[in-house]
């Protein structure tokens, strides 16, 4: 606890003496509460004490978990306080790890989902009395739902089940090709918000990048859903400089992730791709690069009488490639001139023959103009 105290000293140096002691005491109380709340989470998940829990205990537990969520949203942008809290968590984690063998550590970012962690812990605890499960899965009261000021744990799970089921029921009805999926849009907006916060708080330069990398986590090749999320993020309306900065950062990051970018270009619905190309100049350029890369990877197959991809990625046919270019030209007509100029140069490099099957660039040019 002593090292934590010295941290607060440094943090609060600017205040006068009285103010300082008051704030120090406050911070100590906060840290104590944080420690106890994390202990509570561990007890809820791993101890047989929950057998004795009743509705009141349950409500209080959720109250403390909610308190931790508030701590997260108040301090996650404050690097100094965050460090102090991380230290406190480390201490508590050590003690709890020694007490409960199955304990999994709580990190600072876990605090944002404290109520959920509490819920998961409780539901996985074999000693949880069925009376508590009944409270959580009770039918929620629909009336006065809006007036509920402090959250009532009764029906908490029932509400979650309702939301999840309703989404499953309704989402097939949304028109995917036009607007994208609702979940991807929500995630895209959340991604932008978090990225914007990371960029604006002036944390270490690598942090926003680490954040994006950690979400991608080796799923580069099959991140179908993540592609939709990124598209939605890039299409969120920019209301502030922070949001523009976040989108620019994301575009920049994406440019370096070749595999992901290629995956995006081959898996996203064409309408969404052209919309993105129209809205974001950087993406348009990257998109063109990917298309040209696909073309350069093609070889003429004499047996099929068609250009085919040689690499491992054989999802894009010559026909499909042409369609991509044409869709891009129809939304961004200015792009046509530049691309055609480039293709002509490449055709020239190949000898400028007007015979099919000799130069992919020449054949692409004639396909685009037929």
């Amino acid at each position: 606890m002593r090292c934590v105290g010295s941290g607060i000293h440094k943090l609060l140096d600017s205040g006068n003496g009285n103010d300082r002691t008051r704030r120090e005491r406050h911070m100590e109380a906060v840290l104590k509460n944080l420690g106890s709340s994390v202990e509570l989470l561990a007890v809820a998940a791993h101890s047989c004490v929950v057998e004795q829990w009743d509705k009141q205990t349950l409500t209080r537990a959720f109250h403390w978990a909610h308190y931790c969520e508030n701590l997260f949203s108040r301090f996650h942008k404050n690097a100094a306080i965050r460090r102090i809290m991380e230290k406190q968590l480390q201490l508590t984690n050590q003690t709890l790890g020694a007490t409960f063998p199955a304990y999994s550590e709580i990190s600072f970012s876990d605090l944002s989902q404290c109520q959920h962690l509490l819920l998961v812990g409780l539901l996985n605890n074999p000693d949880l009395p069925v009376s508590i499960i009944k409270i959580l899965f009770d039918s929620e009261k629909t009336a006065h739902a809006k007036e509920r000021e402090y959250q009532d744990v009764t029906g908490l799970c029932s509400r979650i089940v309702l939301c999840k089921s309703a989404c499953k029921l309704l989402s097939p009805l949304t028109d995917l090709s036009a607007v994208g999926a609702a979940d991807a849009e929500v995630q895209g907006a959340m991604l932008m918000e978090r990225l914007g916060a990371l960029l604006s708080q002036g944390s270490e330069a690598c942090e926003p990048e680490l954040f994006l990398d950690s979400i991608l986590q080796g799923r580069e090749g099959e991140a179908e859903h993540f592609c939709l999320v990124i598209a939605a993020a890039l299409l969120t309306t920019k209301n502030s400089d922070a949001e523009t900065a976040a989108q620019d950062f994301l575009l920049d990051w994406l440019r370096k992730k070749h595999k992901l970018l290629q995956h995006m270009c081959s898996s996203l619905p064409p309408k969404l791709l052209t919309k993105l190309a129209k809205e974001q100049q950087t993406f348009r350029n990257s998109y063109c690069e990917v298309l040209k890369k696909w073309a350069s990877d093609m070889e003429y197959s004499v047996t099929e009488g068609e250009w085919v991809q040689t690499g491992t990625n054989q999802t894009v046919s010559f026909q499909k490639l042409t369609e991509h270019f044409l869709a891009l030209f129809s939304t961004c007509p200015s792009q046509r001139k530049d691309v055609e100029k480039e293709l002509k140069a490449l055709k020239l490099y190949d000898g400028y023959f007007d015979v099919r099957g000799l130069s992919v660039w020449g054949d692409l040019l004639s396909a685009l103009n037929s």
Partner: protein, 598 residues
Amino acid sequence: MSQLQLQRTAEEPLLNIQQMQFWLDKAATWGQAESPDLQKDTCLHLSRLRDFLQQLLTHIESMSSTTETMKKLPFLGQFLGRLCWNPCVTADGMSRKLLFQCLWGLHSEHPCNGVERKANQWIRKVFCQLVTEEDDATTCTLIKHVGVPPKEYHLEVLRKTVAMLQENIGKSCNSFGDIDQRCSCKRILATSEACVPLVTSPEAAPLIGSLLQLPMTCVRAALSEDFLDALSSAYSSQCLSLEEQAVVSLWYHNLSSLEEAVLMLMESVLNNTESTPQRLEQQVAQSLLPKACAQHCIIFLVVNDIFRSLLKQAEGIELIKCLIQTFTNRFLRELAQQQCQASVSLKAWFPQSPQGLLVPLLTLPSEMPQEAWRRHLNWLSSSLQRLTEEEEEDGEYGESSSSTSLEGHHKVFEAWFLLVQCAHWVQVAAQLLVTSGPEDIGPLLWLLTFYHHPTNGGHQRGLQLVRVKEAWDHLHSTFIVSAPPFPVERLQSLIALLSPQSQQPTSFILSLLVNFAVFSQQPLSGSTEIFQTVVDGSGLVDEAASLLSSLELKLNGGSCLSGDANRVHLRIKALQHTLTRMHTAASHAENPAHTYTV
């Protein structure tokens, strides 16, 4: 379980085997794939499934142990488990509740064998998975890294989906009548079908509201009947959380919920024994029905039909007449506001009313100069009189065709119904009677008598007219001609007219008394004295109080305001005050007696 109980179960099984098999098959089919057709089938079976789950729950609860239940219904766990992963079932509030109750019913507090221990474990696992399982690993990682609680995340996705669908269905085409034109309006039907389990969910309410309010401009843009039925039954159990305008649209689409709403209004009015005119006005306005009627002619016609049949059954009940008057008054005000936007002929709203009387009766007294009131009322009275005479003649001479007689009867009823709806003219007639001389009262008295006694059974109207004329003479000579001290015998004869044994139309005479007390030129002190003595003597304090406040409301409403409004208002207040004092005195006098009897 005792032998007796076993016997009972054997004789009248709670669950029918065939039925069980039907639902097992259904659950298995629904669980096979996530296809729109299967989803639709589930939505359409929801209300029957709820009944079945209720039966199942009763069955589970009647068993002594889970082991026994599992022996009787070995596929039960599989069945419930399948339903838990069917979003249609778990989205529907009632099905979800019953499903969870069935699962709890299978949980053993003290498991006594392997089967029960295993069942307990399984039940816990199902509950845990229902909340924690995510379909997509990327989603899981993403919301964790972004730092958003899953509960908020799911709620947000639902709101977003609802908003997207709202936008989607808003783009309905405008190809009414052109069946060949291709359009995507079929999605409206599909969306309304998917909303069947969600009718009570507040989060889906905006979408349901949009569906109900869609302009039906395309033949394919129909709402599913099951959707409307689900809404209707949720409406009658008061589980809907829709906005006002959406409720109006529901009434427009669904007759039974409209009927339900009218019945609820009537019940709330008739059950409220201490109903005041102010309260009635409030209840009517809160019911939203007058507004809905002004928006959709068809709603007004239905509501009016219900009122019509109610009046036929209970013509004499004053409260019902009050309800209809208040309702129509409110409706006319709403209509006047609406009409600013679009003008529809009044004939469309009152197709059955005698057309010649329609505009004269619907015109508010405040809409014409006060000097014209008497002539207007005389005209109304003679027109109505002619109508009734025609009917009676048909009845006497036209017996060869009973249809003509029925038609005449119908005409008179419709004229009277319209008069009940437009009772502002009845009030003006009563008011004018006070200031009229004996030579002018004939048409006014006839109008009021017709209002109070529309049917002329046994040719009673003539007799009623004589009695009312007699009462008017008494009141006139007391209020207009006399000055205090009032002769006791005159007041006594008024009391006698109002006594229940008098064979007189007492409520009619009492309303005349109230109007005389308020509108006559007799000084307030004199008026109060007569009023107090007569009301007290006849024991009609509550009735008089109700008439006074109803009169006050009508005058405040402005529909029949007289010139000296301020004076009238003060007099009403003073008379009300007198009645309140009488009431207090009476209850003081009664209380000791009560303590004795108790």
